[in-house]
Amino acid sequence: MKEQLLGSMAMPGKSLQKACRLLVVFCALHLLVTLFYYLSGRDFDVLQLFSKHQQSQEGRSSAPMTMTEVAREAPATSAAAVLEKPARDQAPLPEEATETTETGPPGKVELLPPSCPDPSPLLVGPLNVEFVRPVNLESIAKDNPKLRKGGRFTPEDCTALQKVAIIIPFRNRDEHLRYWLYYLHPFLQRQQLDYGIYVINQDGDETFNRAKLLNIGFQEALKEYDYDCFVFSDVDLIPMDDRNTYKCFEQPRHLSVSMDKFGFSLPYNQYFGGVSALSKEQFLKINGFPNNYWGWGGEDDDIYNRFDRIAHTRQTMNSDGLNSLKYQLLEIQKYPLYTKITVDIGSPS
């Protein structure tokens, strides 16, 4: 009897042990696979096969990539410890520091090529955007040989639909800027736009004034070329699909409606931040942005009565804007990938 009992009790114990062992093996396997995928995100030569399918420049329109969620910018800034100053990447030649006004692509005045098609045939759709692998300005310049000094590009085979100045308000975000340039130059070239990149750098430690920098960008870009469209972009926003054309439309357009950091839905209905497009006429009609709306940059910035200021900008539109814009131009630097305009914008009055 006892032996029988022992016999019948040993059976379930054995199969339970076996099941547990299988489970442990499965979990170990799972962990190994996870580790493998983690490592393949790093820069190991063995796994370059996978990384070849990453972001490609114009022309190489393979099957559209599957969209992956874009990492928040917080982990991105911890990826690379040192923020390089542009001066170290590319030594700007002093004699080329200032550029005379452009007249457009040379030698094509008589026979204008046909208008570029809308939409562009070079678009690939969803893009694979990540901020783990470091990027550097030299390799970006190498990957984009058709760019002219100051981050200018004009399509050769057709006449661009619009002349677009991309204005980026900036201060001490060099790493973000590098990623921005890495993704946006191929993106904008695929959209066959006649564009230029203008980074408006606020000098000094005073509260960041995004709106005033955008006004300055508008004015300074127009001194160089007769842009008819202005795209205002934060330095830390990358589009995830190149069918989101960075040009102007019949009404001012909000180009960053779905952002990963807001769960791909608008954080609130009135939100117009991030990336927006206004034509020259539209911008002039609203007298640009308010100069006196200071503050708003994040947890570390000093807030200066920000909510009161927002509430009043509708009333002050006619007196506070382009027509009252005052600033001191400190430096214009023409780098291969962008024009950096450093300004002193004063302080909150």
């Binding site: 442990v24 769960g263 954080p267 609130y268 209905n269 009135q270 947890e299 570390d300 910035d301 000093d302 807030i303 200066y304 009565n305 920000r306 909510f307 009161d308 927002i310 509430a311």
Partner: protein, 140 residues
């Protein structure tokens, strides 16, 4: 094999102790459960909280020399206390840093106290600026 168990448990527990960013309807539900609706209409509350802290429990902002803490951005300017000995002098009777943890029952209790004072939700400037119309977007 068994010696790995505590390590495994630690691996599960660790992510659970980081800061919370609530979703709109998550926070709405918590406010309902905590009886916030008796103090102020919910859509205006949710809208205001969104604009001041983005529903993040760890939000800490410097505003004209004073620090504001947590999901309700309670200021150390008499509303919460920086030091133990000042706790009884503060309106909410709480240490400011306690407003940064995952448990928002103390944040809610403090907000309730403020909502009973004369200016009510207008103590938070965002209310007047952002949250007086177009409130449907804050329903759940």
């Amino acid at each position: 094999m068994m010696s790995l168990l505590p390590l495994l448990l630690l691996g599960i527990v660790f992510p659970a102790t980081q800061a919370i960013q609530f979703k709109k309807c998550e926070l709405s539900q918590i406010f309902k459960e905590e009886g916030m609706e008796k103090y102020f209409p919910l859509p205006e509350l949710i809208c205001t909280v969104f604009h001041i802290s983005g529903f993040e429990t760890e939000t800490k902002v410097n505003n004209k020399g004073h620090q504001e803490y947590g999901i309700f951005q309670i200021s150390n300017n008499g509303w919460c206390a920086e030091k133990e000995e000042d706790i009884t002098k503060s309106v909410c009777g709480i240490l400011c840093t306690k407003l940064l943890d995952d448990d928002i029952t103390d944040d809610i209790a403090c907000a309730k106290k403020i909502l009973q004072l004369p200016k009510r939700l207008d103590y938070w400037k965002a209310h007047k600026t952002f949250c007086r119309k177009d409130l449907d977007q804050w329903n759940c």
